[in-house]
Symmetry: C3
Subunit: 468 residues, 3 copies
């Protein structure tokens, strides 16, 4: 449990403030699923971890989808007749419907109205809207802003470009002792939205920094990608890597004030599901575990039936269930250092369990070994035993080649770290030996393959050909 | 979902009144497990649906049973010394213990008493009693009637015959695209009892009328039979047909005012069990699901271990649990048009699910297909999706060759009809294809065979030989 | 159900008094894991049942353990300067830390203190402490006794011997029709402690007496052994017998006033687990069922992963959870005749179920057989059936070669005895036949072997060689 110990040696408030500060740096950028805002964001992450950047040309086929044109924007506004910018992209990049085509026109209010998006139930907030796959334009504004508009003509300008270019994504690959991988994925395509996007980016970046430089059991792949199309593009181009993914998490919405919510993988009983449940159960904080559903974040793609990867999703507030979702109220005040730090700690705990969840073998399976002569038992008989001795008995009794440490932790009700400590002590005492590292990892990978949802293997070269 | 739609296009109160009216026509007839009353009843049903009538001679062996003598009755009474009929079969056919042997005698009250059945706890009701398999006679009367009897001699007449003849039953066979069958069975042997008998007959008849003339996936077999001995006789003579039965329902007690109760098949997790649970859960009405038990109606025979058919039982009040059960209070007032109509609708919903519960295959199993370019998604990103789009995502994600539409409905929590609509739309869009009709039906039939309760196949010709 | 009937024909209060009286006879003896107190105890049990006594020499290796030196004690005390025995082994044998090495010394109180054990929270009680595997000495006394000690010098005498000798245990083997065994084990090593030790010894002895002289399905082995080392020694020397153990119970703590607690086997769903749950559920008394854990009594050894025997543990109060545990308050007042008798009755019920839990085969599996013609049904139709007829229907329907009588009792909710009576009646009527006695017993034994927890078979001769 080195990772968590290392994290816990640091000041957690300082960690939180550092996460929030990085989110604040990223906040003003106008990101989208393509374009310079996305590149700039990946560039700033790349100053912390060694990202490998990929650019996929417009028009490339990725499974059923096509890489869209690249969108960039410099300015946009609605000006009244007096020349005042009554809606101004420079003040908030949510004001423009993301992926709006360029426009320069004078339009009377009654014609403009169908292109204006507001939230009457929150009259001061600006909604976030997009039109990636249908060429269109529009503005988002607060309902009060709209009520203040006069029934006259307005000058409407969107200084954007929508042209052949590239879709950009980044990955950070951290090699471990095994080529079997843990995938951490977060979307990087939302503009000035703090919880739904930036919180995931900053936690994933910090997690990657924390993991690097360690001798790791698994290899790790961190993906920073535009939502949906980015995940699809990555899967189409990397189906060899997919074979190695044993466990995965989509990270987003990790900064707000609600309890942690974990949405299970499509399989529902994957090791990541059981690990997350264990960590949350012992966290001391409230939490909720949600069944898999095919709507949500990029777990939709990783858990599509052809892949059926063991990828869950960790959030605090669940998409669509909180009023600030996809509005200007999802701002830097909505996310808090202490909550970002707790989310990072939860991820770290989970990875620590996965890194350490081996099977062991009791080398004296017939009756208990005599712990007393090895100073592993209490000296005076007749008294109760402590939790440490209890953990040793659990590990010995269930290290039968069929139970992992997580299985034993779950069955005993003890925290994984207590069980892990007992296993290490018993190993040092010659009473226990680990069941081969590689075989354990292979078991997971085989599992992930055989549990593909009955649709057969990806045809050889399908992803590659699709990219033509 | 054509069947339910067709039913819902009609006036449900009118349907209810029509069901009740048919019950009222059948009510006065003195039915038994053999005889003219049973024939007359089947004749009246036969005016609505094309019944095939079978007559099995007295003495025929059917498994462990023997077809009994045929019973007919013209009149019966108890006359006091003044010549008044103090108990009169002409006023209520429950007054005679069903299957009473003929008698003409003068008997003092103290001798007669052991042959009189009353219900002291409901002093105005007449109980329903039978003596099919032990030759005997008796009268049923209200407790108040008995209390009014004088301690004198009475003239006792039962003008019945119990002689070699036949046992009669009827079936209505509706061929579908597959020879795999759905069995609907109801008993037709009770005399003037409305809920426990007639409600089942009229609902089953209406269901048969509703189904006929459609292009159906399954073949349907409606059985109108005397209880116990009729089911046993049919099973003994039709073991080839038994092989084809995939799903089945015993219908009875469908007119009273209690919630619908479904008693599960012996298997407990058959498709009919899951279908009924789904339909009832989404019905908006209270309901209850009961575990299988070997006492009840003719599911006792269909679910005997040698057959172990997937046959459940739909009722409102459960046999033996309501005071009116097997008494004269189970009359035409006890059953109501609105309740009969709701029962018919539930049966129709269930058959609609079974008819449509195919497996489909997602033709783009790697990542989501792009619904937007097919106009199957909302145009503006950032907004929530509706239940229809959600249903499409569920169908796509779980159409992996392992989940039927019912599986997907259950896992998503959405009604079957919503899931079915999504599947049809996705088929039309080329994103989904049905997994072969025949293979799906075969799977059920194989299932039903292989799940025979470990007693091996019926020996060839056993039923036939038994019929000698 | 002969065993239970035989027990119930006797006066249960008389049984209880007799159990308590035997416990009172055994109470004063200073037992330990070796020595004359243990031999004397086994001798007194041996006056009731024909025990086979084993003696294993000091130094013998048994798996990871070594048979310790034999301990005997004649006297021990702490004398004040006035020559008064302020702590006196003759008054209570708990006063000496069990297995204390001999000592004769004058020691000032401040030096003596570290060797004195008290219970400040129960200042009048003497704790029970041992030091079997670390040579040491000490005294246990009430906290009030300790407070009364003066800060002067005391004469300390422990007149014990700790020398090469033997470990003693006893077994009572009762052969049945099959060599498949039921193991009843209780520890016999605690000195004057009534519930935690003696209650198990007296109930097990009475159970053995009750069983003997019957024609039994299973063979029975009753073990009276020193805790931990005795179970380990027996397992090491008897691995051939282990192969035959199908079911087992550790008995202890059966006399106090709490509800019965059953701790499940490591397997969790063994026949003994299901039997005990059934018996307790129908007992009419409160009870509790605990999951397996690797701490407790000798089930720790029987359920070690190399053996993984189907051995559970029946108690009233659970070790360590009641204040009197391992103190002088666990005395003859703490156990009551009525509770000892109820514990014996529960054990008898359990063995009765195991003896009778066969599978039967319905010889008329197609439809119900006609019970009426065999006088196994009610004569007048239309009335409700009683529980006896209901039990017959359950037995017929589920005697399909896959369900034992216990399975049927569980599924029907009826008591095992009702189901068993129905099965016997149906056998006599020619409707049912038992599935081969031997095959049923073999099934259990195979089960027990194949469910070994993945650690392979005991290497041939391991136990023997270990005993060198």
């Amino acid at each position: 449990m080195r990772l968590l110990k290392e994290l816990d040696e640091r000041d957690s408030m300082e960690i939180g403030r550092s996460l929030h500060s990085f989110a604040a740096d990223l906040y003003p950028i106008c990101r989208s699923i393509t374009g310079e805002g996305l590149r700039q964001t990946l560039g700033m992450i790349g100053q912390r971890i060694a990202l490998q950047i990929s650019e996929i040309p417009t028009g490339t086929l990725v499974f059923d989808w096509t890489i869209p044109k690249e969108w960039n924007i410099r300015d946009a506004y609605i000006k009244d007749e007096a020349g005042n910018r009554v809606v101004d992209f420079q003040r908030c990049n949510l004001h423009v419907v993301n992926y709006s085509t360029p426009v320069r026109a004078k339009i009377p209010l009654h014609e403009l109205r169908s292109r204006l998006f507001t939230m009457p139930e929150h009259p001061d907030w600006i909604p976030y809207r997009t039109s990636y796959y249908k060429e269109d334009w529009g503005f988002c504004l607060s309902h009060n802003q709209m009520l203040a508009l006069q029934n006259t003509e307005y000058e409407v300008v969107i200084d954007s470009t929508l042209e052949d270019g590239h879709l950009t994504y980044a990955e950070y690959y951290l090699p471990g002792r095994s080529e079997h991988e843990i995938l951490i994925s977060c979307h990087a395509c939302h503009p000035s939205l703090a919880n739904d996007n930036l919180s995931g980016l900053v936690v994933a970046t910090a997690l990657a920094e924390l993991m690097s430089g360690h001798d790791l059991r698994y290899s790790y792949r961190f993906l920073f990608i535009p939502g949906t199309i980015g995940a699809i593009a990555w899967l189409a181009r990397n189906h060899n890597a997919v074979e190695n993914i044993c466990h995965g998490l989509v990270l987003t919405g990790l900064g707000d004030g609600r309890a942690l919510h974990y949405k299970k993988t499509r399989r529902g009983d994957a090791e990541i599901d059981r690990t997350m449940a264990h960590v949350l159960r012992h966290s001391g904080s409230p939490y909720e575990i949600l069944e898999f559903s095919p709507y949500g974040y990029d777990e939709r793609q990783y858990c599509s039936p052809g892949f059926n990867l063991a990828v869950g999703c960790l959030m605090r507030s669940v998409w669509g269930t909180f009023p600030e979702y996809h509005t200007s109220a999802d701002n830097l005040d909505f996310i808090r250092p202490v909550q970002l730090a707790e989310s990072l700690r939860t991820c770290t705990s989970v990875l620590d369990v996965l890194e350490n969840n081996y099977q062991y073998r009791n080398l004296n399976p017939y009756c208990e070994p005599q712990l007393g002569k090895r100073d592993l038992y209490r000296a005076t008989g007749g008294e109760a035993i402590g939790v440490d001795i209890n953990a040793r008995l659990w590990v010995l009794n269930f290290s039968d080649g069929e139970h992992s440490l997580l299985d034993i932790a779950e069955r005993s009700g003890l925290p994984f770290s207590t069980i892990k400590d007992a296993a290490e002590l018993l190993c040092r005492s010659g009473l226990l030996s680990v069941v081969g590292d590689e075989s354990a990892a292979n078991r997971n990978a085989d599992n992930s393959t055989s549990r593909r949802a009955g649709v057969g293997r990806l045809p050889p070269g399908q992803g590659v050909i699709a990219l033509g």
